[in-house]
């Protein structure tokens, strides 16, 4: 399976790679494309406790500002410092080097699979 197929998604355009109690989170290529060139990323500090659905960061492009929502309830265990220094990674490799945060979690909420997410972005 391709990485795109393995990932889960939120309706707010985050992707989630839910590993062993830790979710790696980024924004989808669709979201990055809608934002345009990302020039600034504001991420939470490691150790921050976050709730599913709460805003935990901001992604700014030249044109607009997007909020990053946590898909899970838990604790931020790692943030991608590379993306803070080089925000264009969100555009160039959104599902890879452009990952944003890793959040530990107890329970994984219901998330979308690729088909469900794709139908969401093609409706609009």
């Amino acid at each position: 399976m391709s990485r795109e197929n393995e990932l889960k998604y939120t309706s707010e355009h985050e992707w989630v790679d839910a590993g062993d109690g830790v979710a790696t989170v980024g924004v989808t290529a669709y979201a990055a494309g809608q934002l345009g060139d990302v020039v600034y990323v504001d991420l939470p500090a490691v150790g921050t406790e976050v709730e599913a659905g709460s805003s935990i960061g901001e992604i700014e492009s030249t044109k607009s500002v997007g909020e990053l929502y946590s898909p899970v309830t838990g604790t931020v265990v790692e943030v991608n410092d590379a993306v803070a220094a080089t925000p264009e990674l969100v555009n160039s490799d959104p599902l890879g080097e452009g990952w944003l945060v890793k959040v530990s979690f107890e329970a994984l909420p219901d998330l979308l699979d690729l088909d469900e997410y794709t139908s969401l972005t093609t409706e609009a």
Partner: protein, 393 residues
């Protein structure tokens, strides 16, 4: 993630397509709704498109803009009454930036007016204001021997902007000037001057105007020929580094150049002088025009507007977070709200955040340090003289 761009128009309804739509699709454009039009917001990267215009050239589709013809023996007199600038003083072959005002002195739209004949003017309006401008001109031309015709559907508009524009345009096959060689005609064409020419034997109007702060040209052409000219310019300019450029880069380019945008810096609640556009209002004679008395009184057109009594300034900050349209501006030392951001972005050319804002006149002196509330945190912003960016000439 949610896109919270407050400036995106939410206009639903009929979807209008540019005569270049298929070309944009073929170039892989992302589209945005602009005043009911599906227009390219970017083709690949808005930053790359921005930089291409500053260093080489970019090609924009502006076919959504409104083109309104005013013709007849009284055309100049009708426009003298309808607009804030004195169009009767405009020589044939020249263009003028002007405003159309309400009785209360507020800005209905900013316009470029071309005099294309003794009794003939082309009025170019923003896409979102095409209808209101045409209707207002028609009403104000009542009693004059002048006709107002909205020709927007029959005129396409593209703009080539950037330092290599003249060189590229001069080499486009089948693009000819009516008088002399196209290269010489373009070279000698002054800023805000127009030349008549032809492309594939059909008439075109080429103006040395733009909205980017760079040298460049705007070309008016029949919709059924615009695709061919668009492709020819991109092909001719490929070696020189031309790229198709979308509305996202157009917005950051005009912002750096300190040029106002209707709906942001301009509106019916703003007097021209507040926006630094006093020069576009001709008060030097006793000509009667709509809005004159209100402009001279200086009274706010809409006293309850957050912009009332405030003046437009440039704000420059450090770091990478930009103030955006709608963000409040505060005095640096306290909690007094002294203004409102109308446009802002991290400047691609300068590398720091810039914004245009309306602030209290007492805070408008260059060097004054203010702060912008960026979604709950304050960033320092220094008042600077507009424009932020000026090309070396």
């Amino acid at each position: 993630m949610t896109d919270t761009d407050a400036s995106a128009p939410a206009d639903a309804g009929e979807e209008l397509l540019s005569p270049l739509h298929e070309a944009h699709v073929a170039l892989g454009a992302s589209f945005t709704d602009f005043a009911g039009w599906q227009m390219p917001v970017r083709y690949s990267s808005d930053l790359a498109e921005h930089h291409a215009v500053r260093t080489a050239a970019g090609l924009f589709d502006l076919s959504h803009m409104g083109e309104i013809l005013v013709l007849g023996p009284d055309a100049a007199a009708a426009l003298d009454y309808a607009l804030a600038g004195r169009m009767s003083a405009l020589d044939e072959g020249r263009a003028k930036y002007t405003l159309i005002l309400t009785e209360a002195g507020g800005v209905i739209d900013d316009l470029i007016v071309y005099r294309t004949g003794p009794d003939r003017f082309l009025v170019v309006a923003n896409a979102s204001n095409r209808e209101v401008v045409a209707e207002t001109l028609r009403a104000r031309a009542d009693g004059f021997d002048a006709l107002v015709e909205d020709e927007s559907g029959d005129i396409a508009l593209i703009a080539i902007q950037g330092p290599k524009s003249a060189e590229i345009l001069a080499n486009v096959e089948d693009l000819l000037a009516d008088d002399g060689a196209i290269g010489d005609a373009l070279d000698s064409l002054g800023y805000y001057r127009v030349l008549r020419g032809s492309y594939l034997a059909l008439p075109v109007l080429i103006a040395r105007t733009g909205y980017t702060g760079e040298d460049g040209f705007e070309i008016y052409i029949a919709p059924d020929r615009v695709r061919s000219l668009w492709d020819a310019i991109l092909e001719t300019g490929a070696g020189a580094g031309i790229v198709p450029a979308g509305l996202a880069s157009r917005d950051t380019l005009r912002l750096e150049a300190g040029m106002p945008l209707y709906g942001h810096e301009l509106g019916v609640d703003v007097l021209p002088a507040q926006a630094g556009l006093g020069r576009a209002v001709a008060l030097g004679d006793d000509r009667d025009f709509v809005g004159r008395a209100a402009v001279e009184s200086g009274a706010a057109p809409e006293p309850d507007s957050l912009l009332a009594g405030r003046v437009l300034v440039g704000l420059a900050s450090e770091g990478r977070r930009a103030g955006r349209a709608g963000y409040r501006v505060f005095r640096d030392d306290g909690s007094d709200a002294v203004g409102l951001v109308t446009s802002g972005a991290l400047s691609p050319t300068l590398g720091y955040p810039i914004a245009m804002a309306y602030v209290d006149p007492s805070e408008s002196v260059a060097g004054t340090v203010l702060s912008i509330d960026v979604r709950g945190s304050r960033i320092a912003a220094t008042v600077v003289t507009l424009p932020f960016y000026k090309r070396e000439s």
